[in-house]
């Protein structure tokens, strides 16, 4: 699974993207966030405000109950502030 991080999710985690092999029990975005938060203090800090983190799977906005699959591109980021 390809993960991309933007804005303060990126600066907290300390990298812009990574390829991960999530365990089998990771079936939804929520599962993914739970698992990522166990990977280290920087992940836990980035995902601390869990309900604020927005998620896109393959460039589409999704809710946290959306399924994720090994070949997905999943992006985690704060609410957008362009314009």
């Amino acid at each position: 699974m390809k993960l991309l991080y933007f804005a303060w999710v990126r600066t907290n985690i300390g990298k812009a993207e990574e390829e991960v092999a999530a365990p089998d029990h990771v079936q939804t975005v929520e599962d993914l966030l739970d698992w990522l938060a166990t990977l280290g203090p920087q992940y836990a800090a980035a995902l601390d405000r869990r309900n604020v983190v927005k998620v896109a799977v393959n460039h589409e906005y999704v809710e946290h109950d959306h399924p994720v699959r090994p070949d997905d591109e999943v992006a985690l980021f704060p609410p957008v502030t362009g314009g």
Partner: protein
């Protein structure tokens, strides 16, 4: 026409290319967003815009398509910059053309309202106290909500 670019844009040239050779156009509306020197935490010296290449173009394409479904438009131009920008610099251009002014004005307002809440851009402000990510504003959500059908 949608462009995501680091460099500045020439407003006159963009408006000319949007209207040249199309005499059905009776009105053009435009919004240009600029970097302010003040933010919630005081004076800012610069901001850096980050975006999600690939998703940004897709989301903006969808927003343009929605505008074209709602209004009879002749043309749409959306240009959004990324990278480090200083106060006074242009960030975004939204321009729409139509036979009549109301469609042009309304669709232009719609496009910038939806862009602000749906296109994956983020702003990092630089001020005297260091750098800070800009928080999303509820007033922007409300501005986008008013276009909900």
């Amino acid at each position: 026409m949608i462009r995501i670019q680091r460099e500045d844009f020439d407003i006159g040239a963009e408006l000319a290319s949007l209207t040249d050779g199309n005499a059905r156009i009776g009105g053009l509306a435009m919004f240009v967003g600029l970097v302010r020197d003040r933010a919630s935490q005081g004076q800012i010296s610069a901001m850096t815009l980050e975006h999600y290449p690939g998703m940004t173009e897709r989301r903006l394409g969808e927003i343009e398509a929605e505008a074209r479904r709602r209004w009879p438009l002749e043309g749409v131009t959306i240009i959004h910059r990324y990278g480090r920008l200083e106060p006074g610099e242009r960030i975004v251009l939204v321009a729409t053309t139509s036979s009549h002014r109301q469609a042009a004005l309304d669709s232009c307002a719609f496009l910038i309202d939806w862009l602000k809440t749906k296109a994956p851009f983020w702003k990092l402000e630089e001020g005297a106290a260091g750098v800070q990510w800009v928080e999303a504003r509820e007033s922007d959500d409300q501005a986008a909500e008013r276009w909900k059908k």
